[in-house]
Amino acid sequence: MPSKIMLTILGAGIGTWLIRVVPFLLVKAARLPKWVLQFLSFVPVAILTAIFVEGMLVYRPGQWPTVNPQNLIAAVPTVVAAIISKSLLVTVVVSVVSMAAVRALGWG
């Protein structure tokens, strides 16, 4: 009898695998209409923005979300670093240092 956690892992594993792989099979089997390709061309900027903004907010069930002050403060030098350096590595390093500084200073 597999443990509860093992069953959970297997179930979630199969589910997330299907979500990742089935779109590849669909695209391979069928020719996507032009409007679908146009729709998909907006996915990168849209989804990256959504993931970024989600990190700046704190979800409160039934109420308006609030801002995560530490994340918002640390994001400012990170955005500046991205614009100046145009380098992913520099941006990531600045983000970590900024957050460490924000916490060390007790801001937010």
């Binding site: 179930g11 900027v45 849209a46 990170t78 992913l88 390093v93 983000s95 460490a100």
Partner: protein, 235 residues
């Protein structure tokens, strides 16, 4: 990042994202440890489920004693946005074999997806399996290792957040988003910014009614439709 699409280039390109995987992976390991999930199971979860938000959901619902079916449904749902990413990448790999497609799809993550979108802008809109496998497999192994190390250290680190490593993942998305906006020349920067601004407002409004992960999915779909409308009117 340049236009090279070999295995080595993949290793080089994925390097900056490794910090994010290490930071969040360690944090997850610590959380899983405190949720009474054995270290072996933490490793297996990272290898089999392989999704940051899904794994955090599993750990918290497991601790709360939720039934398996509810945990599985939630874990799959928070990862639903992967379908959009897979669908976006897949057309560039259509001419590759079925096995290559399944291999790349199985290990696709938010990060390697975003990397591949950045890469497209430098390679004349081409992607190669060797490059993708290098990025995917590195991410996969680093993630699994980081979560196991986090679980082992679990009891020793009182607060994994002290060093700011957990913020690396946000920093990475900021970098990837900015690079995507300036390097995707198929539309003007101002239009990228307009769509990003629209999605940002959407997120605030949607999170009034639903948790962040669901909001991400819905905001992206509506944001893409908004983009289509703007582009049609611009012509």
């Amino acid at each position: 990042m340049d236009d090279a699409l070999d295995f080595k280039a993949g290793l080089r390109d994925v390097l900056p994202t490794v910090f994010g995987y290490i930071g969040v992976g360690l944090a997850f390991g610590v959380v899983a440890h405190t949720s009474h999930i054995p270290t072996l199971m933490v490793g297996l979860m990272s290898l089999i489920v392989y999704g940051g938000s899904s794994q955090f959901i599993i750990a918290s619902m497991f601790l709360a004693g939720a039934p398996v079916s509810a945990i599985v449904a939630s874990a799959v749902l928070v990862n639903a946005r992967m379908a959009l990413m897979s669908m976006t990448v897949a057309p560039y790999l259509k001419q590759e074999s079925l096995a290559q497609n399944i291999g790349i799809g199985s290990l696709l993550t938010d990060e390697t997806f975003a990397l591949s979108m950045n890469k497209l802008n430098l390679t004349g809109h081409r992607l190669k399996p060797a490059w993708f496998h290098a990025a995917n497999i590195t991410a996969y192994l680093v993630w699994a290792l980081a979560t196991v190390v986090g679980a082992l250290l679990g009891g020793m680190i009182p607060d994994a957040k002290t060093f700011g490593l957990d913020f690396a993942v946000v920093g990475m998305f900021i970098g990837l988003l900015y690079l995507q906006m300036i390097s995707d020349r198929s539309r003007p920067l101002l239009r990228h910014l307009l769509i990003a601004g629209f999605v940002a407002v959407e997120m605030v409004v949607l999170e009034r009614f639903m948790p962040g992960n669901t909001a991400i999915l819905l905001a992206t779909v509506v944001g893409c439709v908004f983009g289509m409308v703007v582009e049609r009117d611009a012509k």
